[in-house]
Symmetry: C2
Subunit: 170 residues, 2 copies
């Protein structure tokens, strides 16, 4: 560590040294890339009365229709009060529908309305466009590596959520 160096795994024939400099470049890449990643939906949301928190809620409700509030809470990693404020406006604006659970009537199952789906489409189109461009530029092998590193970077808890969603969608 003091010499800014750390041993690493072997890659085929070459030994990889992970210097602090290499790691820092990765850190900065994440910082700058995340800014780009959120920029396009942010621009769209700015014109409306919504923010990034609304986007996240809409995204995951669309991804897992009928999900409960508690479930969404766990995925988003915020307090119910924070989520509720966002959810309330989305429901009031007719983008999200909250249905009382059939089996357990305490639970609320969340669904996007047609208007909600339309907004989701608009937002994720914008985000996917950038993603698609980046993927094409980088090429398939790079994309595979990209996903592998991101997965390794998640907390165990989040990795579980991520995998579950991934399998749901596939």
């Amino acid at each position: 560590m003091a010499d800014g160096r750390s041993t690493s795994s072997v890659s085929g024939e070459s030994l990889l040294f992970l210097t602090d400099e290499q790691l820092r470049q990765g850190i900065e890449a994440m910082f700058f890339a995340y800014r780009g990643f959120t920029a396009d939906p942010d621009r769209i949301l700015d014109d409306m009365a919504y923010g990034r928190a609304h986007h996240r809620a809409i995204h995951f409700i669309n991804r897992a229709p009928g999900t409960t509030v508690n479930n969404l809470l766990a995925i988003l990693g915020v307090t119910k009060q924070s989520l509720n404020r966002v959810l309330r406006t989305l429901i009031a604006d007719g983008l999200v529908e909250s249905r009382v659970g059939r089996n357990d009537k305490r639970e609320r199952h969340l669904h996007l309305t047609d208007a909600g789906k339309a907004l989701e489409q608009t937002l994720s189109d914008a985000q996917r466009t950038r993603m698609r461009a980046a993927y094409r530029t980088a090429g398939p092998e790079a994309v595979s590596g990209f996903r592998t590193v991101l997965e390794a970077m998640m907390d165990q808890e989040m990795r579980t959520s991520y995998i579950r969603l991934k399998e749901t969608g596939a």
Copy 2:
């Protein structure tokens, strides 16, 4: 788009189709991974009176010692009022030093004090530890792809900043 499919670049012998599903998985991977990415320094900062904004300022001052306020503003992509609030506390707490420019006395050149460097080290150690673990798990080829995709995902402006920093450090 309606069929959830979009053509892409050719990869050696195989044709890559970027389905909306694949893109969405990438989007979710970014979301979950970024949470992990910031989690460790956030925990440390929570115990002090600082937040993520302080971390960012400290990081880039350390990265480019003597940088001007305007320069930092451009890299961080915030207003001077936002940055100033953070900078003021860091200077008051003796972590950052602001020196009047030699050539142009309007400019303030920012440096970390010893205490500032110590905090920077603590924060980036935590972040690098996770990064190193992820890099090792994923392997060298994945790391290369990871970086390639992230670079392609940045805004042109940010890519320029990123590259400049990268060359500075190397």
